[in-house]
Amino acid sequence: MGEATLTSAPAAPPQEDSTTPSGLPWWANPRVGLLVVIVALVILFSALRPSFLNVDLTLVPMQADLSVFAIVGLAQLAVLSLGHMNLAVPRMAAVSAFAAGLTYDRLHAPLVVGLAVALVVGALIGALAGTIITTTGVNSFVVTLALDFGLLGLVSLLYAWATDGVAFAVHPAGMDALRFDTMNNYCAGPVCGPPVPLVVPIALVTVVAVGVLFRRSRVGREMLMTGSSLRAARLSGIPVTRRIIQAHALSGLLCGLAGFLLAINNGAFSATIGDQFLLPSFLAPVLGGTLLAGGAVSVLGTVLGATLTSVIQKGLNLLQFQLDQLQILIGVVLLLALSLDRVRHVLAERRGVRR
């Protein structure tokens, strides 16, 4: 049958571009740009303030922060894959952290049990958000916004009920080690590890797992296809409802992890966990080239985006900028990144995606 079709096909036209057919030229790749900016800023900051390269003062805390914010970014990325948003990232983290704190406080459970509880609670809240979105058909923006508002109230009620303030006083065994130790504290004979906080490997494993999920796994790919075109996905036999709920559950689970790690870094399970998560959750993936429209994500980009945010924050901190000035700057960076997102879209269209 091949002959009939092949011979009747028109002569192949010359291909116009020799670069990768799907992507943009390497210089337009947001990840390369990010890396350049990060390196430049690190050089700039360490030139202005040599203490920027101080291990204990800067590098170790920055790695701990970065681990949390990379995961916060991944929590948003999980639903951006669908073209959805999760505005409840802060409170999903807060409720999960509360659940972990409660487990330690009442059950005196080991550290890892509390972590598991945080993950499960986060995933359940995420799944709830996903279920509401799929059954009502209401936009994810509205659903998670309302959910965040509701959970905000719930969190303060819960802390008021379970503690005599806004934080659990309990310190489970191993919490301080996870907080203060670096690999440098662990030696095999004369050889000690690098000055890397213990939360970093946890974040690394998570990053790799999410990366593999979206790059290689059937479930992750089906989420991306759903984000690319809901109707085509449904008509290609993808169980779209299940995938949407799963993506939101994943988002919730990552919120739970982020909440837990922040509580560890702060040394307390408190009501304010997650308060500062919302903006960074968008900043990291969008800086890294994840499309708000869904259908394409970049896990590596998200890590780089989170790194850039941490570097800027730390650097300006050392240069004694005020918190409000910092916020202005971060806001500007996000706007620039979003404009870039739009520019990339336009470029992609120019390259002939026919609609």
């Binding site: 096909a9 028109p10 057919p21 799907s22 089906e222 690319s228 290609s236 036999g237 026919r354 609609r355």
Partner: protein
Amino acid sequence: MRLRAQGLVKMFPGVRALDGVNLDLRPGTVHALLGENGAGKSTLIKVLTGVHRPDAGVVEVSEDDATWAPVTFGKPQDATAAGIGVVHQERNLVPRFSVAENIALQSMPRRHGVVDKSAMRALASRCLQQLDLHLDLNRPVAELSVAQMQLVEVAKALATDSRVLLLDEPTSTLTSQEADRLYAVVRRLRDDGACVVLVTHKLDEVFAIADTVTVLRDGRSVAEGRALSELSRSDVIDLMVGRSFADLQPDPTPPKDRSGIAALELAHVSTSVGHEDVSLTVHPGEIVGLYGLVGAGRSELARALLGLDDITSGSVLIRGQEARIRSVADALHRYGMGYVSENRKEEGVFLEQPVTRNVAVTVWRRLSAWGMVRDRSESVLLDTYVDRLGIRISGHKQLAGQLSGGNQQKISLAKWLAADCSILVIDEPTVGIDVRTKASFHTLIAELAAKGLAILLITSDLPEMVTLADRILVMHDRQLAGEVDNVAHDYAASSRQVVRYMHAEHVA
């Protein structure tokens, strides 16, 4: 003003949309621009109106037929300024704005930086007068009838002093009286010395109103500004199709074996979208056509069959077994049934995803181990279908959206073949596809049936239906109105019967 174009070429990745088009638009004429879907009409309009830049070729204008000035349009406003106006197929009016505001939108008179309302109204009323149209200038456009909106669009084009006016399918939403009204306007504009370019599918209208014609076929102009008086209707059709209707001579195929168990059987099916008591069978190796007017409920029946709408009574049997299909996933994984959607761009392919994923999406379950998909097996799969279906791609990572319509459609079909479906519901497979790819599609569908697939074919293209189907079921108002035995594939005989069933008022 006379406008001519020579050797226009416009390339998109994977396709030459325009491949040497010449055009000559003389003042005081109505010029028909014809061509089948995909011949390049829309691209040509976009080039002439500054939406696309041509890759080669020149566009020139002249006031006296002696001196020609080349023009280049970087953006649509440049074309407007050069006196080229366009009325697009889809409306481009702002519904809440008044008639006057809409007409003057592109050339809003201003004084001290604010809109000069009286000048705007004067301009609008001058344009309406030119069309002999009496409309309240203050009325919001949303309150007008479709025909009135169409005329306001024409007025809007006149407001920018258009001397070449492109009308893209202007009568597709108009009644015949309204169309007559519009054509009266077109004649007046012609008599005033404008050139009106008419893009339409309706040959009756072309012969009634146009003076000259340019026919596009596969991106080339095959007739350039020929006088319509020297052409017959079948000449024009031959020019458009590029083959004589000899292709539609009877081509009998042996009747299919219908003694075994039907691959797909609908027994007295009623649906939540209004179908009543629909019964049909499709046997392996058979192509059963479902024909009817747009709105007769053919695609809706297919969607109900796939679980997208509810079947309220009756039963669906697949290979003799009662089937309960609640989603496409059910149809695919449990019953081996696939659906090639009529809406290629929104439902058939994922435009922003690479071709590999577009084909493998239905078989990731099979291609994966421990939940992980192997890229290698995806590529192998794609290569298989690239060969089998003659899909033209530039690489495995090429986005489906960069392919031509015909190749997109092949991708959309390939994913069901990859999934080893034994029953295929194919809805309008060749809409917007050029003639040659269409022919290759027909060959392909016939070959799939010959391999034992059961195919339910929905198409509004009667020649296509007669070419392919073994039996044609005619649907009228969500019920089956009759069945035509089509093994002779005799266009004259079958089409007559089909049309008779289509217009039957009552069904016994």
